[in-house]
Every structure is written in C-alpha cells, then in structure tokens.
Symmetry: D2
Subunit: 315 residues, 4 copies
C-alpha cells in the first residue's frame, strides 16, 4: 500500500516516518508540509540522513491521489478537517492522527477545541481507530479513521474491559495522566522550553483538557450511559511516554488475580497489549519506542476502590 | 540553639546542613554518621568545601549531650527508635525525620515498615511535627518531634483544611503522588540508578507505601473517624520535588473561589503555604529548594468530585 | 544601594532578582521589561509569589535615575548599547550582563555579534567585571561594568593564573565548553525545546561563538600578545551549570601539586574560587545556585600538555 | 548462525539481545548470567515480555558448544579472559565486548585495568573488531574478535582517516569525551545514582581512563609511531550516547570541504558512518538506538588546529 503523510515535519509525522519505512505493507511515497515545503526532511531531521531522504511537498490532493492509496494526517488541530475531505473525495483512505474527526458531536469539538468542527456527516462516517476495540469496524469499510489521542489510548485500553464487564461504577472514575513533553508537539513556545520542563512536574489544563470528551464518548459507547470522568493531566520531565493511573469503585467482587485473568483473556488477540503479573507495575520506559501498552491491575483490599494502570508510549 | 545531626551523610542530612547553617537561631555543632565516621563531610560532598567543613563523628549520646541542645535524626527507618531514647534521657530535644516515631500504633509501624517499633510510651509522647497544623503542641512541651514524611506533608497540607471543615467525603479520597528520586535516599541499589529512572515514569509500592497509615492517622485525628485512603505513588525522572494530586467528593456546595478564600484564611499565619490563584496550578520547580508548599484548588463543575493539589519540595 | 534591573523577565534577570533580594547591601527598587511591562513579575514567575511581588515597568531613564543608584542590564545582545548611555548620563552606575560592552574593539563586536556596536568611547570606559582579576579597577571608578559571559568566566578563572605566570604556551590552547540550556535564554525557539535538548549532547557554533573574542581579549590583556584560541561549545541536557575543560602545553616543569599550590595562593583573597584537591575533579552540581567556581588541575605526565578545569554555574 | 550471550543481564547484554533478535543472520539460542542464572530475563527486564522470554543459564562451555556457533561476552572486565578460552577450545567463534582482549600488551592491560591479563598468545590472535577499519581481518579467519570500547569507537572512526593520510600531527591530539551514564554499566554504586548524575556534568578518571591505551594502540597501528594522546572523559546527564570532540594540528593545508570529501570517500563502503555537511554538527540523539556514527569536520581558519567530531551511540 502506497502512503503519504501530511504534516510530516512535526513529532508525530517524523515518528510515523520511522514506523512506515519499516512496515512490511506500506511504502512511504510522499511527505507533505505546507509550512516547510521545499526543504529536505533529512535537513530538518538529520537522523534521517541515509535512512529516508525526501523533499517536503505542498499539499495537493490531486497529486496525492495519483501517487498514494492512503494518507495520514499528522497535523495540529483544525487542519485535517479542511484537507481530509479533499482526499476522501479522490478515493483515498484517510487516517487522521489529530483530534478533528474523533468526536461525533460537533458542538463538543467546538467547545473543547475552541475551533469550528468538521462536517457533521463526515464525523459520523469516521471510525474511531482504537484497533484493540474497533478492529472489525476499521477493517470493514472505514475510509476515515480517527486515531485516538495519547491519553485516551492509554485510558481506554486500561478501562474499557472493566466497563464492558459492568464491574466498576463509572461515576467514580478518576484518571490521573502523566505525559512526557513530546505530546505538546514541536512548537516554539515558552511552555515547551527545556528549562521550564526539566526537573519539574506540572499540573495543566485542569478540567479543560480536550481529551476529556473523547474518553467519555468511548466509555459511553460501551456503557450506554452518559458519562463524566475526572481527568487531570501532568507534564513530566521526559520526552516520550505517558502513564494514566485510573481509579474506580468496584461493583463486582473480584481479586487482583481474577482481574488479571480477565484482562489477559480480553486482550488475547491483541498482540500490543501486555498485562503485568500481579504485584508488578508498568513503567513507561519498558514500552518506549514500541507499540506496546502495558497494563497493571490492583485491587486494594483495604479500601473500596480498585485501581488499575495503563501505560503506553505516545509520539 | 546548638544542634547536631545524626545521619548527616544522607540526602536529608546534607539538606538539613544547608538549612541549619543558614538558620538565624541554630548553630550546627556536630555531624554524626556511624557508617562514615572519621571522614570529612566536605570530602563526601565537595559542594560543602569552604562552606561547612567538619569531620563526621560516631554516635555517642554523652558527647552529644555535652555539646548540643537539640538533635536531628536524618536516619533510615529503624535507627532512631534505638538512638533517640538515649538522647531524650540526657535532656536533648529530639527531632526525628525518619518514620520511627510518626505512628501512634506500634502494630501499624510493624506491619507497614516490617520492623519492630519504638517503645510505645515514647510513641505516645511524640508530637507530629506538621507545624502548620500542630504549631501549638510543638511549641508547648514537645521533646520528641516526629517530622512528617514527604508525601504526608504535601497531602495533609492540601487536605486537612477541607477535612476540618467537613466539606468532603473522606471515604472518597484518592491521592496520586509523584515524587523525584531523592526521596529514596542515597542508597546504592539498582532501583536508584540513573539509567532506570531517567526518561521513565514508574508506579511503585501500590497499596503498600508506608506513608499510607501516616496520612490516615492524621486525617483521623481531625475527622474523628477511622479513615482509609487510596494512595498511589509514582517515581518521576527528576531529583527533587513532589506533587500530590488529591481527589475528593464534595459534601458542601462551594465554588473554586470560595475554596481558595477558605484556604487562604486557613493558612493566613503559615508563611510557607501559598495558595494559587484560580485557574493556575502548582509546579514543583516553583518551590524547589524553598520551604514553600503551593496549593492549587479546583472544583470540577462537570463531575461530582472536586480535586485539589498540594505540592511541596522534599529533601 | 538602591538598584533596578532592566530585562528582569529573562532567566538572568530573574536570577538577579534572587541574588539582589538576599543581598545585604542592595535594595531592589524597580524591575523593567519593555516586552512585558504592566505585568506582575510573580505572575510570569509564580515562584516569586510572596517573595518578591512587583509590576514590570517600561524603561524610562529619568524615572530610573530618581529611584535607583545603580542599574543592571539583563538584556539580550544589542539592547544595552542604546539604553545604558541614557542611564550613564543621569549618573547611574551601570552593570551590563550582556555582551554589548565587553569587547574594546567595535569591529570585533560587529563581526562576532552581527550587530552595530556601542559607542567606542563608552567601550573604552567600560571595565571588564571579572572581579577576581579586575577587583581594583572595578572598585576604583568604574561607571560601566561589563560583566563577563558565562564561558569566559569559567575559562578565564581557570586560565589566567597560568597565563600570568607565563607557564603555558598560549598558542596551544584548546577550550572545550559544556553548557546547560539556560545559557540560551528564555526564547521560544525550536532549538530551545525540551524534546531536542533532553537525552542529547550537541556541538554548536563551531568557530563562531561570540565569546571567543572575549576570551582572547582577556588573555591578551595579560600576555601582551595577540592570542587565538580554539574554543568549542556543547549543549548538555541540564538546565544550569557550565564546565570548560582547558588544555594547554606547559612551558614550565611543575607538578600537579605545585600547580594547585600556585592556584590556591593566586585566589587566596577570592572567596568564590575553590581549588580542588589533587585527584578530584569539579562537577557542576557542586556549584549549582552558588557563586562558586571550582577549579581542578592535572598535569598529565604521559603527554606534553597539562590540562586543567574550570567550572562555574551560569544563570 | 546460532549465537549465545554471556553476561546477558547487563546493559550491553540486553542491548545485544535487541540487536540479535532483529538480526537477519543470527538466532539467539541462549542467554547466560552466572550472577542471575535461574531467573527469567523478562522478569529482570519486563520490556522483553512477549518479545524475548528465556531463562538465564549458568555458563557451561560444553553446553554452549552444543547449541551455538558463536558466543558474545557482554561481561565486566576480567571475566572473559577466563571464560573465552574455554569456548575457543570448543571451536566457537568468540566476540568479546569487554576490554579483556583489546590490548596486545599484557603489561598495559595490567597497568590500566588493575587486573591480571589474558593469555598473551590469545591476545595476539584476537582481532580488533572495528569493522570499518579491520573488515578484511575480521572476515579472514578471526576466532577472537575484541570489540572496541565506546570511546575508542567514536574516537578512532573520527581520527583514523586523518592519521592514515598523515595530515595531522599526532603529537598534538586532544580528545574530549562526553558520555551518557549507561557506559558505566548496571552496577549498584553511589556514583551511578540518579540524584548525582542528573542535572550535572562531571569530569572523571583524568589521565587514568582504561580506553587510553586502546586508542593509542590503534593510532600506532596506522602511524607506525609510538603515540600518546590527551584523553579526558566527562559524564553527562543522559542515559545513552557518547560524543568525542577531537582536536589536532594540521600538517596539510586542506579546507573543511576537502576534509569532508576525503572522509566521505574513506567511508564510502561503510554504511554506518555518516559525514555531516559543512557547517552542521553531530548530536548524539540523531544516532540514538541506531548503528550510526556521525562525524562532523571543521577547519578553524583562525587558529592552527583543525578539529573534528565523532559521535556514536554506546550501549
């Protein structure tokens, strides 16, 4: 399958290059970046010298359609909602790594992203690309795949098996997220400077993180109820990696070992999810640079809630 | 006041040296370390050259009593319970930075610290040295001051005002702690190596951290009820600093601004507690090396719980 | 002495605030920043809350002259050359932390800084503020003090005693500098982002660093000869701290111990320079946040050159 | 080719596992560690779960000979000199990553490593495994391959082309090494703790690093003269990566561009050496986790010496 990347000069774009040039079924044909078109990607990222050398092109849907079968959008919020429809029209499979096509409700997008949303019809057609959960839907006939955000991926892989089982009270959920700095993207801002992030832990965007409705929508899709979660994010002094610590009240009396057995069974066909042995816990470095999401589970016998962990590296 | 430090060659001991040699009312007379006695502290810690040069002595209660009025124990768990009584007998004011005298219940110490506890009578006489809460008791006639642990300090400063007011449901408490590596002390172990901690976030000691009963005991002292908290700890790739993110269900309908006003009033005579303005959140670097504990508060209007933050540097 | 800071919202400005509010002979009256005037410094830097709260003012030489005796310029290159003369005219003692008044030769400034230089007459009047070397000149009647750059401070304190003695061949000098990220200032640029600096060592500005002529000018002032040094700089993944490793061929047969004795004697009245014992070497963390510059010396008996180290923290 | 690793539980061993399980021509049959035999490698290193799961065995030359064709020694200094001969006797190809077989002169080993050397006859038979330089010798009939150290690899790839050409004065060489912490191995020692390495640059082992004679021996093999280099090492706050900045006086008048062209030609058949474009410099992160060694070159027109860089990641 021939593929292209729009937004190839950001952190997700460059990580995608790494994944695609080593992928057995993909051939990376073209890399696009309107902001740096004309430059060579290996000049911007010298680690790509002799590995993947290519000139960055301007976005042009017609040319894309000539050369590729599928296009990835590794663009900041608000870009793919305009460019993706052009590609879709020309028959391309569209995989969006940004948040533009994740929320079914355009009003939610507007209120959390502070931008005007994508076309509602397209939002409805988009499939949420959490492959461990939506594998069949994605395979079926998806033409727009809305890839999950970093926090939602970690949270949902850790949480959805319990929600599906109906074994936790979803009204009690607390999700405490810890992320490395690459999640903020390659943007020259004071908030992203080394000196402010190094040797520091910061809480940020309390009650206002745009991944909140994405998490709620996915839980709701399983539970059938309207859901509200307490989701808090922290910036950690490391480049890559993300851990979500999830706390919930149990409604079914299972031991830690029973939870682990259930999760192992749930993910038995998902090669990239690993369940930790009882009494051992994930650490982000153990999944660094891989596709793995490691999940640790623990029932705290002393208190009512159980808690469990989900840990996944994120671009 | 003439003072000495037992366990002066660890991280807390050396930090204590920094605080005491700059303190207007203290004169640091002697530094003690059985494991490195005979060595010069400035050889072990060259940053002390020309600043504080002194030979490390063996512990000897008689000699201590001759030279100092007060003694600090910056020793690992299990040491001060044996040495402190010797000093107490000789009339010294004893300030213990370890966990040996914090828990009133010897059985709790034994079960969480996996060691035999201090003499129960002394445990009862010890005053918990959280000065913002116990100022009067400490001043009164305390001869044994059990200094709070790092996580409990951050947690209790953030939590106790709300508990005192009876405005939260203490059965709903979730405390998510994030600590730098100095908290583990200067111990040559694989777990403390640079390569494992750098660029990594790790969950550890789930449901088993020895600061759990200390936090519960202090909440109980205020609420009057037996308390159980969900307390989880994470190791963050930085040397110093600690943040506890605390989640609780509200039982009183207060806005964020009202919470802030209440906390400001509560701490109006506590110069080292700072309450953040609404919509801004603590970061550990903003208190690095200082005595400050910064607290941010937020009521999440969308969900039931409020959450609040407490952030304090820790040796 | 009443003082003000121009450029108070950058990293050097904020560090200067820390030093001045604790300084026994200074009273910090006013903080100035044209780019953020009107804002509160404690809003930009919350660690200053309750410590030093002040509104940032616009630069106005008349008002400054009314309120202060001395003014510090913590401004980027090219700013103080215009503002400082205004203050000088009004009788203020001017201390410039930028590079604008360090080089006596305006052509050198122009060629290394790629900007138009300060007035040549003022350049001649400026005293190079390396107090360990120029103490008398500074005390005498200096009205313009050009504070040394970070690399030159470390290099010159390590090098000038040897040059003064005539014991090294100045034509053989190699200076290998390693700096933390704060040296680049608080500027929102891709080069300063956390993700590019963390877990990375980078060589930069080879043969083109603007501190080169400053180092050469100071060596020349002592040796009397025109000097050219090989000076290379590296960016290290840490916030603060700077180490220069200096290599030189010896022209006098001294042992390591004799070198150490000579340096100790040379700096016997300089409280902020510490000479390391033979066989031990500086590390930047040992001077972090202090005024100290630690110097280690070593004669390599196997090869011709000696090498020595100078290590100093830098804003 | 079936292979085994002795010392599989250290940092180099585990990195070797990563390289070998992805290698098209190798099949990793057995992992050996006397200190942790009986344990599962994926328990010690959970990132290997589901990737490479195997029980660590005790060293037994007979069993090894039954199952593998080649054996790697990723052991600390002083181990392979005893174990390797056993494997050699049984016909195995032996690749040693430690320093035991690198120095031809047993007296040099004894004096720099402070241990008794390997059998002199075996030392003579060992081929120095710097494949870019010794490719033919390695292919020919080598049965003992002594893999180069981390600093020597970076230094020699950067230096040997210039030495071969006779274009530098080898008596003027200064090599300034900067290494991440993994180079010290997975050893529980105070020197390797996170808190001492983080936010710090340290000079260490001045004039005493055991890689010095290895570098000198390799230069000598090319130049034919006895060589002495000034080699200084620094510990940098990062896990992986190593940069050597090399300074030399030129004896031939070449421009930077001519040097670059010469190096490109020299390494035209070495796929893992990349030469940087003029005016751009290596950074360790650009080779992180790869086999690449990036080299930047610069002639400083203002001074006599040229300097050049070599930068290579190191286990």
């Amino acid at each position: 399958m021939k593929v292209g990347i729009v937004g190839a000069n950001g952190y997700s774009g460059v990580e995608l290059i790494r994944l695609l040039i080593n992928h057995p079924f993909a051939e990376l044909e073209t890399v696009i970046s309107n902001s740096t078109s004309g430059e060579e990607i290996q000049t911007l990222y010298p680690h790509l010298s002799a590995v993947f050398e290519r000139r960055l092109e301007d976005f042009n849907a017609d040319e894309l359609a000539e050369h590729v079968d599928a296009v990835f959008f590794a663009t900041p919020a608000g870009v793919s909602k305009d460019l993706l429809p052009e590609c879709l029209k020309r028959g391309l499979l569209c995989i969006d790594l940004s948040g533009d096509f994740r929320l079914k409700d355009p009003a939610a997008y507007e209120s959390w992203y502070h931008r005007s949303p994508a076309d509602e019809d397209l939002l409805q057609r988009a499939v949420y690309g959490l492959s461990e959960i939506n594998r069949e839907q994605i395979k079926a006939a998806a033409r727009i795949i809305a890839n999950p955000g970093c926090y939602p991926t970690a949270t949902l892989l850790g949480l959805l098996p319990a929600v599906k089982r109906g074994a936790i009270n979803t009204r009690s959920l607390v999700i405490d997220g810890k992320s490395g700095a690459s999640g903020a993207g390659r943007k020259a801002s004071i908030a992203n400077l080394f000196c402010g992030i190094n040797e520091n832990v910061q809480a940020y965007k309390l009650g206002a993180h745009q991944h909140t409705p994405e998490i709620e929508q996915a839980i709701q899709a399983v539970s059938g109820n309207e859901e509200r979660v307490t989701f808090t994010t922290h910036l950690i002094p490391m480049t890559r990696g993300l851990m979500c610590t999830i706390y919930a009240d149990l409604t079914e009396d299972l031991s830690t070992e029973e939870w682990i057995a259930y999760y192992e069974h749930f993910y038995k066909d998902s090669p990239f999810v690993r369940i930790r042995k009882a009494g051992t816990w994930p650490s982000t470095k153990e999944v660094l640079g891989s596709n793995y999401c490691d999940i640790g589970l623990n029932v705290d016998g002393r208190t009512r809630p159980d808690y469990r962990f989900s840990d996944r590296q994120c671009g």
